[in-house]
Symmetry: C2
Subunit: 125 residues, 2 copies
């Protein structure tokens, strides 16, 4: 306890940060990672490619999608198996809506963080 803490005579440049997620019956239901995955699936039409683009193991991507789908009455991601091209994967309209709502809340959250940033600056003096 004899060591003194250093304390520089500098002004604190502080900013308020945060993140949000939606919790469901199984824990996390939607967060930034899952939204990114949904958007990549929309882009590539493939879980394999979507997962690869996020440097995420396929098994993890599959687990995340299955977790989302299991928590809603209509799935967010659907796949068609088989066929000459090996099937396809796409985002349903419910999934699209979820993405849109999430980003809308995120946008409001960013505004909230910016507004509250004034309070933060009051503690740095």
């Amino acid at each position: 306890m004899s060591k003194r803490f250093s304390c520089k005579q500098e002004t604190l440049t502080a900013s308020l940060r945060g993140h949000i997620w939606i919790e469901g019956s199984e824990g996390t239901f939607l967060g930034y990672g899952r939204i990114a995955l949904l958007e990549r699936i929309r882009e590539y039409g493939s879980i394999t490619k979507a997962a690869k683009s996020l440097e995420m193991p396929y098994r993890k991507a599959w687990f995340l999608i299955d977790s989302m789908n299991r928590q809603v009455s209509k799935p967010y991601v659907v796949t068609s198996a088989g066929g000459r091209k090996g099937g396809g994967t796409w985002i349903t309209s419910e999934g699209e809506k979820a993405i849109a709502v999430f980003w809308k809340i995120h946008e409001k959250f960013q505004k909230f963080l910016k507004r509250q940033g004034n309070a933060v600056s009051s503690i740095s003096k």
Copy 2:
């Protein structure tokens, strides 16, 4: 890609969650963990006891306090070395202000999450 996703016919009970922190020049400056540590130091007047009560190694507690102190012009935690009782540790008024401001922002954040919860429920149908 042949494995189908399961999808239960259940209503999603979703809630919006999140957390916030204040970032300074060194990365995290204040977050829930650091606030808890400050409050325990206030309670126990000792970093050792505060750390123990949070099941945190003493070195980590010391690092966190030093990190806070280094980022502000007036320290949040001060210690007096030596003396028959081995010195003491307490929170300065600047530290107290930081704790109060953080909880105030947290409270507003909880209200924000509650308000936005309505938007969340719209994606679960």
